[in-house]
């Protein structure tokens, strides 16, 4: 894990002190809301329906136990004892008071946490493959490079007032577990033809009103030139991005209008003019950062654990948990353990302070002091010995964190929606809860197999609905909550944007419609087909018939 040095720590302390002065001036009426709003947003503080919301950055989704305990403490002391993990791997606290916010930032700074780069038209907090450092297929640890970009981009004067926000995701493996195609810049580490470390660079992905999957603009960028090349991308964007129209200001619109080839040419032209050595990270600094991500503490262990195998054979619930929530580790005798924040009936992505503390304890005791946040709104213990799986399962199970549903129909992504968010048209959480309850029997969910449902309460698409196998978008029809369903979206290596199923449905029809879609899939599927495979073979027709055959039917 990256450890903050004196410069980082001083920066965070200064930042908290600065925000204390700014908010005091606002409370005293010395500055107006119009003047204050951009300042509070630069510190992740939004005003929502019931209170302020603080969005805390979790860079590349990696937390140590002290940080997770601090988040639990802040949620308990200044909020209502819970927090909401988002698709950007941030933590949102929904009941924050402005007068407490500077103290919260001071507390977070004590453990190297902050809310910088969580709002505004800057380079935002980075996301990365949650399996980083543990995945067998990894070429290099993406967090090293995400940390390099973090240090370079934080308070970067040239890129603090971009035409619009700018999000970067990094994956270190051929398999995309970081949804890099829906990012402004998506980076995939690889080896080039000579075996040297390189990036495949995608630019111009994004969801929202105008969804795009990012095209490759450079298939083989030498890794050492990452920062100078990013600078060239951002300079082209800063120069030509549509500042005149907020709906067209994201880089995806520029890339789409120029075409990926022409955009790449302009970036190349800008890059060739750049003094690369002045921008690129020096080898010594890269080595320093790399050193902090070297895994320590792994033991040499047999690939099989007799204790785990015996426990699994004796306990069908542990066996199911192991089938759904474990992933093979690159080190023999270890596994990645997914901690589900999707217990049916609960709010997707929510964790109580007690749950955060439990995961912190487990990370400390069983996972080499690391926990991860995934963009699918779950947590992860990346380095657990197989021998310890039964104990970890028992602890998680006792806290409602062991639902065996990773990647299944009840592992739903949902934005906070109208229950909290000032931008939302409709609620999302209630829809997720209704669907998850229909499929709460784990055997049923497992029989249905991989099925990713993603729900957004407005077109801004925080819930990634465009790339859900089943996407659900809340729309406001004369003040009533309606939901538009799309099918066939995906966000990994086979990324695709979903196709609209038919007219929007009233809220009470949505979970029933999902049930009808699942029934249609089970009737249509061939052996071994996932939902998405069946959809790609059949297209919309059988699903449309299932949902709209009887237009008056309400379930």
């Amino acid at each position: 894990m990256y450890l903050y040095d004196d410069i980082d720590r001083a920066m965070l302390e200064d930042r908290a002190a600065e925000f204390r002065a700014q908010s005091q001036r606002r409370l005293a009426g010395e500055i107006t809301e119009e003047q204050f709003k951009p300042l509070r947003l630069m510190n992740g503080l939004y005003l929502q329906l019931h209170a302020y919301m603080l969005r805390i950055a979790i860079p590349y989704g990696t937390l140590d136990p002290a940080q997770l305990r601090k988040l639990a403490h802040v949620a308990r002391t200044y909020d209502r004892g819970y927090g909401h993990f988002t698709t950007r791997t941030n933590l949102q606290l929904h009941w924050i008071k402005l007068r407490d916010a500077p103290t919260i930032l001071e507390e977070l700074a004590e453990v190297g946490l902050h809310a910088i780069q969580t709002s505004g038209n800057c380079i935002r907090n980075l996301t990365a493959d949650p399996h980083a450092g543990a995945a067998a297929d990894e070429v290099d640890d993406p967090r090293i490079w995400a940390e390099v970009i973090r240090q370079w981009s934080t308070f970067h004067p040239e890129f603090s007032f971009l035409p619009r926000k700018f999000k970067i995701a990094v994956t270190g493996a051929p398999t995309d577990r970081a949804a890099i195609r829906i990012y402004d810049v998506g980076l995939r580490l690889k080896r080039d033809a000579d075996g040297a470390l390189a990036f495949e660079v995608r630019v111009g992905g994004g969801l929202g009103r105008l969804p795009h999957l990012g095209p490759v603009v450079n298939p083989d960028l030498p890794a050492r030139h990452l920062l100078s090349y990013l600078q060239a991308i951002l300079r082209v964007y800063n120069r030509h991005g549509r500042r005149d129209n907020i709906h067209k200001a994201r880089i995806k619109v520029l890339v789409a209008s120029l075409g990926a080839e022409e955009f790449a040419r302009q970036v190349e032209e800008e890059w060739n003019k750049t003094d690369k050595a002045a921008v690129d990270i020096p080898d010594t600094e890269l080595a320093r950062i790399r050193g902090m991500f070297q895994p320590g503490g792994f033991e040499t262990r047999p690939a099989r654990s007799a204790a785990f195998e015996a426990a699994r054979a004796a306990d069908p619930r542990l066996a199911r948990f192991a089938r759904r929530n474990l992933t093979a580790h690159k080190i023999p005798g270890y596994a990645l353990v997914a901690v589900s924040l999707k217990e049916p009936g609960e709010t997707p992505g929510d964790a109580t302070s007690e749950q955060m503390e439990l995961v912190a304890d487990l990370a400390e005791r069983y996972s080499l002091n690391e926990a991860r946040v995934t963009y699918e709104q779950n947590l992860l213990l990346p380095h657990v010995k197989l021998d310890d799986i039964p104990a970890v399962f028992a602890a998680l199970d006792g806290a409602g964190l062991a639902t065996p549903n990773i990647g299944l129909v009840s592992d739903i992504i949902a934005c906070p929606g109208l229950d909290y968010c000032a931008l939302a048209n409709t609620r999302s959480i209630n829809i997720a809860q209704a669907i998850a309850r229909r499929f709460e029997d784990p055997a049923t969910a497992e029989r249905v197999g991989e099925l990713k449902i993603k729900i957004s309460g407005c077109i801004n698409a925080c819930g990634h609905h465009h790339v859900g196998h089943i996407g659900i978008l809340g729309v406001d029809k004369k003040g009533e909550e309606f939901y538009q369903l799309t099918l066939g979206g995906a966000d990994g290596d086979d990324a695709a944007l979903g196709q609209v199923l038919g007219p929007a449905l009233p809220s009470e029809r949505v979970s029933g419609a999902v049930d009808q879609i699942v029934e249609a899939y089970l009737a249509e599927r061939h052996d071994g087909e996932r939902f998405i495979d069946t959809f790609r073979r059949t297209g919309l027709t059988p699903f449309k018939e299932a949902v709209y055959a009887d237009a008056d039917q309400t379930r």
């Binding site: 409370l27 005003l47 009941w95 809860q433 003040g479």
Partner: protein, 119 residues
């Protein structure tokens, strides 16, 4: 009918105007029958920059024998999040909360839409 609402500056709580003061319960809000008095209250409220953020007028209807915000969004602000019945104003319970929770009526929050347009 109209009511005047805003978020309180120091904690973000949804509040309602009542004769020059801000109250937390919608049931205590002052209701305006006439457009002019509502707008006059809004102008006074707009000057209170150390007390509230972005005051705006909302439409109010009669529902089950009492007033309720017309738009679902505003009823939700007056109650709290539906996923956590113990959080927000709804936690206090009582007849007024029950009535708001059961009120129907559907329209966009016009005051809010105007506020967004103005920005």
């Amino acid at each position: 009918m109209k009511a005047l609402t805003a978020n309180r500056l120091y904690d973000g709580e949804a509040v309602f105007w009542k004769s020059g003061a801000w109250v937390e319960r919608f049931a205590d809000a002052e209701l305006f029958g006439a457009e002019e008095t509502a707008e006059a209250a809004q102008s006074s409220a707009a000057a209170e920059i150390t007390r509230v953020v972005d005051p705006y007028l909302i439409d109010v209807i009669e529902a089950d024998g009492g007033p309720a915000p017309l738009s679902y969004r505003e009823r939700l602000r007056a109650l709290g999040p539906t996923n956590k019945p113990g959080h927000g104003k709804q936690a206090a319970g009582g007849a007024d909360v029950a009535r708001l929770a059961h009120a129907h009526g559907s329209a966009r929050s016009t005051g809010r839409v105007n506020l967004i347009r103005r920005k």
